[in-house]
């Protein structure tokens, strides 16, 4: 009955036992969710299954259709019908969509690449994942959500039996999630087995047939979806009850700290602004949510304000009543701005550096005098923020590349907390973060607002946006479409404003 069985899997890294005698059984043709806190070992288990960690580097057995498998490479696992879509996207940015989908599997005739077939086939797979774009576009032109869908198309094109998705919806907007859910159901009908890792428990409850929970590298249990509910999963994940996911406190709103008046930003010589005529105010101690669809220009607003683009700003910006000129990140930090980007690997972390160096990167001034770094001080400060954020790491000298996704996010947050911001811009702050850690981040938001920090929270997760914001602005097509008070804000109102502007490129 079970298509896949993993028995007694133990996997150790220097300093961490990532998996400790894990048992994992999946039935044929089901959608099986894998849940657990950050660092519980979900990704590691799937990397063992897909041959990323080859046979011999772990203990235990993998059985597919009751046959023992010893994968040495990813190729081996693909030949056995297992395909994995990683938590971190792995597309070649400068190649076309079609080339990416068939990378390593290029259709050929007489030994030469058959481009026509390739584009034709690629278009077919694109349609299957609900993308109506041409497959000869370069991947670098696509947003992160579309790239995710390309990854799925790529996996589908390999005609696999078991497809593993590591947090496929973390970067997707609501309507893209719908597409994905449809795709998953379709796959189930075709008899394909899906293993699905996600921190979004509502989704898990909705899509999956059964769920396995890991905690600290151990299997806590497997349940049919009708035997358990959301809070049941949570308590199995964290080992305790978790109440009140959105600990919103009616923030005491103080004087204005940030004011934008007709703010537009033009990159280099381009005529089209990356943000267009934006006006907004942010008060001390307030959480201002910004909602909108993928590509609405929310990230661009934040990045441009933070000085991340080169170009020219129009309109005026005031911080604490003082005029602020967009120059560069250095100046922005000096003025008390901090920006937690949505793409932590690309913009948040130097992956090859250790936890301590990443944490202090934006605040080296604090731990050095005359530009000489006080290394002891550095470790001491990092230790402080690590404890506060509960980063799970073997040591402060561990490279962040080896941390689990959620813990990497916590390091990025530590980095910006350390810079002591007056205005904190959070761009998808809980992407890929487990429920426990999410709640910690929300509590942190409360703590900061209590200290008078103004927070702008960009989020595609509506429950979070509604749960934590004092006011919500909705953006579309680089403009502000409207503002909703706490009372007015609800799912429909936001979506209406978000789609009320011009038509968004994708249709489905």
């Amino acid at each position: 009955m079970s298509i896949l069985e993993m028995r007694g899997i133990t996997k150790e890294f220097p300093g961490v036992k990532a998996l400790d005698n894990v048992n994992f059984k999946v039935k044929k043709g089901e959608i099986h969710a894998l849940c657990g806190e950050n660092g519980a070992g979900k990704s590691t288990l799937m990397k063992v299954l897909s041959g990323v960690h080859p046979h011999g580097t772990y203990d235990g057995k993998i059985l597919i259709n009751d046959k023992e498998q010893n994968f040495q490479t990813i190729r081996d696992s693909e030949n056995a019908g297992v395909t994995i879509i990683y938590q971190e996207l792995a597309l070649v940015k400068d190649m076309t969509i079609a080339e990416n989908i068939f990378l390593g599997n290029e259709p050929t005739s007489n030994g030469f690449i058959d481009w026509e077939t390739m584009f034709y086939e690629a278009n077919k797979w694109l349609k299957k994942v609900g993308l109506s774009i041409e497959s000869n576009l370069k991947v670098s032109n696509l947003g992160i959500g579309q790239q995710q869908l390309i990854e799925i198309a790529k996996a589908l094109s390999k005609n696999c039996e078991i497809i593993i998705m590591d947090e496929p919806t973390a970067a997707l907007a609501e309507e893209e999630v719908e597409i994905l859910i449809n795709i998953l159901h379709q796959l189930r009908e075709d008899g394909i087995t899906v293993i699905y890792i996600s921190h979004k428990l509502k989704e898990v409850m909705r899509i999956s047939d059964s769920v396995t929970i890991l905690r600290d590298g151990q299997t806590i249990g497997t349940k049919g979806i009708d035997e358990i509910d959301e809070s049941g999963i949570i308590s199995m994940m964290v080992g305790r009850e978790l109440k009140d996911l959105f600990p919103y406190e009616n923030n005491k709103i103080d004087e204005v700290i940030l004011k934008l008046d007709g703010y537009s930003f033009f990159e280099h010589k381009s005529k089209k602004p990356v943000t267009d005529d934006v006006s907004l105010t942010l008060h001390k101690g307030e959480v201002l949510g910004i909602g909108g669809l993928m590509g609405a220009g929310r990230t661009e607003l934040a990045t441009s304000l933070f000085g991340g683009y080169e170009g020219k700003a129009e309109g005026s910006v005031y911080i604490d009543g003082e005029k602020y000129e967009v120059k560069g990140p250095k100046e922005a930090i000096d003025k008390g701005l901090a920006y937690v980007s949505e793409d932590r690997k690309r913009y948040g972390l130097v992956l090859g550096m250790d936890v301590a160096k990443n944490t202090t990167m934006a605040s080296l001034g604090q731990i050095s005098s005359l530009s000489f770094i006080n290394q002891e001080r550095e470790i001491w400060e990092t230790e402080k923020y690590n404890k506060k954020m509960r980063v799970k790491t073997p040591s402060l000298e561990t490279k962040v590349v080896t941390l689990s996704g959620g813990n990497q996010q916590k390091v990025v947050l530590s980095k910006w907390l350390m810079s002591g911001p007056k205005i904190l811009i959070l761009d998808e702050p809980t992407r890929g973060i487990d429920v426990g850690a999410k709640q910690e981040i929300y509590k942190l938001i409360n703590e900061l607002t209590a200290q008078g920090v103004g927070i702008i929270m960009i989020s595609s997760e509506l429950p979070e946006l509604l749960g934590m914001s004092d006011r919500v602005l909705v953006m579309a097509d680089r403009k502000i479409m409207g503002e909703l008070s706490k009372e007015e804000a609800n799912q429909e109102a936001i979506l209406k404003l978000a789609t009320g502007g011009e038509n968004i490129e994708e249709s489905h």
Partner: protein
């Protein structure tokens, strides 16, 4: 939470040292002990200085994610400028040194400006520089060898430190090392941070002291510590400190590791890249003067292909061409390995063509070893 700091050995540095010891043993056996004679040790340490100085700057450049192909020409040109100023214009040594270093800085500024502010890839800018600087050298020298240098200038590349001062410097260095370790331990204790065992900390210093004393003794049995070696050590010391303990050093590593994240952390990429090229220019000038002094002449072909030796030394030393990773200690060891192979094979009268082949093989092997050891620890 005392054990949060892992107790860490620098595996790569130790592999390099082991490789070096093996090379020493092999050549010592093959040359019946001549290889580790005082005289040859002295020669060897003089031979490695020019590439060593270049390798220090090259490490910073490569760690920052760039490359400098012009250092050979830059070195030739600055060395030539020094010779011309002294021989043709009769300048005395001190102003020559100052002006030559300034010339190096200026040329570094030129290249750094193109790379940092105009966005032209360093590979192209310095490939251009390689031709331009050699061209300028050919032009200003008219293709002639410019010689001879003053007695005082020859000190830079040829003189030796008197025995007594040599031992004195060694003693100072050893005392300094002990003080540093003690201070570090005290500060960590105060902040309640994890400490490596006392025996390990002081053990390393003791081993280091014994080795350095032995080395100086060997040199002193011949003529003493060569001045150029001292120059290299001082430069290396300064930049090891800079790379580890200053914000500038940290910025370089961050930029090489992930320029976008570095930029959004408020690091000024352009200025830092410019600085790196300026440092490279200044160090090339120093290396140029050492070479001119040693040859007692400025020649048109001085420093040809040195850029490749410097890059090879850096890469053998474990610096990644992708940027973000690397140490100056490693690069110095890399330079020493390259020089040892040159020197040992010359002593054995191996024809030059073999020397090239062997050095090339070593380069590939070293990087392969590095990569495969990294793979092992990763999975």
């Amino acid at each position: 939470m005392k054990n949060r700091i892992s107790f860490k050995l620098d595996v790569r540095a130790y592999t390099l040292i082991i490789a070096l010891i093996m090379i020493f043993v092999v050549f010592t056996i093959l040359t019946n002990g001549d290889f580790i004679s005082s005289r040859n040790i002295t020669n060897l340490s003089r031979q490695m200085t020019v590439i060593g100085i270049l390798a220090v700057g090259m490490t910073l450049i490569i760690v920052a994610g760039h490359i400098d192909l012009s250092v050979g020409s830059l070195l030739g040109l600055t060395g030539g400028i020094a010779a011309i100023l002294q021989v043709w214009y009769g300048w005395s040594t001190f102003p020559v040194i100052i002006v030559t270093i300034l010339a190096g800085i200026l040329l570094g500024l030129w290249q750094g400006w193109w790379v940092a502010y105009k966005g032209v890839p360093a590979f192209i800018v310095t490939l251009g520089g390689m031709m331009i600087f050699r061209g300028i050298l050919l032009g200003i020298s008219g293709g002639q060898t410019v010689a001879p240098m003053n007695e005082s200038f020859r000190v830079i590349g040829q003189a030796y430190i008197p025995y007594v001062i040599g031992y004195l410097l060694t003693a100072v260095l050893i005392v300094f090392a002990f003080i540093m370790v003690a201070r570090k331990r005290k500060r960590r204790q105060k902040l309640d941070l994890a400490l490596s065992p006392v025996s390990f900390d002081y053990g390393t210093v003791i081993v280091f002291s014994v080795l350095i004393t032995l080395f100086v003794y060997m040199l002193n049995r011949y003529h003493g510590i060569p001045v150029p070696l001292l120059i290299l050590l001082v430069i290396a010391g300064i930049f090891i400190f800079v790379s580890k303990n200053t914000t500038f050093g940290r910025h370089i590593y961050a930029i090489g590791g992930n320029p976008e994240a570095a930029k959004l952390s408020g690091i000024n990429i352009k200025r830092n890249i410019l600085s790196v090229f300026v440092i490279m220019g200044a160090l090339s000038a120093v290396a140029g003067m050492v070479l001119t002094s040693r040859l007692n002449a400025g020649t048109v072909s001085a420093g040809q292909m040195y850029e490749l030796d410097a890059i090879a030394a850096v890469v053998i030393g474990g610096t990644s061409l992708m940027g973000g990773v690397g140490t100056i200690v490693g690069s110095i060891l890399g330079a020493l390995i390259m020089a040892s192979i040159d020197n040992g094979m010359s002593m054995m009268n191996v024809p030059p063509f073999w020397q090239y082949i062997v050095k090339g093989m070593i380069l590939i092997l070293a990087v392969w070893l590095d990569i495969s050891s990294k793979k092992k620890t990763a999975s």
